[in-house]
Amino acid sequence: MIVCVAVVGHQNNPLYIQSFTEADDALKLHHIVHCSLDVVDERVNNPKKSSPTLNETFLGLLYPTENYKVYGYLTNTKVKLILVTTDLDVRDADVRNFFRKFHAAYVDAVSNPFHVPGKKITSRTFAERVSTIVKSFGLSSAS
């Protein structure tokens, strides 16, 4: 289950952060997202030369914690998309698929002429679309 997703701007300014848990642990999840930004910076500044995934937008598993796995995605415009999940065996393809849809939703949201670049995304349509994507996460693998 996805517990938290976030969009972070190129100056590490939060653009959108949303947790999907019943419990009151939003602060803890925000902290995890915050920590992951350093890992993203590290990945980008010291890329593994041998890796075939050089400069790919999908950064893969950033770091595992006791209960969560954190995945990252960095767009060409230096916008970071972060995913926190409680699932322990996640298929890479599912995560990639999730980020692709999430990115598309983000692009549509910022293409709104009334959206001010660099400001938080307040669009309700975007929020709804993201929660639909979150709900459908991993469903394709079940079938």
Partner: protein
Amino acid sequence: MYHVNLIEQFDRGVEEMGREVSESCVESLVTEIVSSYCNGFYADKPELAARRIEAIGFQVGHQLSERYTMDRPRFTDHLEAIKFICKDFWSEVFKKQIDNLKTNHRGTFVLQDNRFRWLSRMSVDPSIETLGSIQDPSAMAENKAAQAIGMHLYFPCGIIRGALSNLGIPCAVSADISNLPACSFVIRIKA
């Protein structure tokens, strides 16, 4: 803000190949933006009108670059990003690529388009040209025509600057008209 909206739709149309906005609409819109800023809002302040038009272009370029770079790996250097502007970005917006790219390898790039779409149906007003039969006003009329065309180039300049700055490359963009409909855009990357 209607103008940006329409271009957004145009842009989405290209992506889905189902919904498209007439190219002539976009072209008329650009012409109309230029004329209302130059002759209406800021008739006596051409520099201010230019800045405003460039700012609209900036926002459009900013948003377009977000969409067009969606499915590609991140750029490693400036040249790669400029090449992207010349090839993919230009084909999406103008249905053709840039014809010639020159650089001094020190942060200046010249993008030459031999048939720039937004200038391809533009002509110099003959009434102005006939006025130029007398020696001195001829130069003035020519100057005036060049100025009017130059005004139409602030919008595409803004688009390029917006796209590049969203890709993390702060720059200044200016345009040169050699002979219609060819024109070149000069990009100076700020160190």
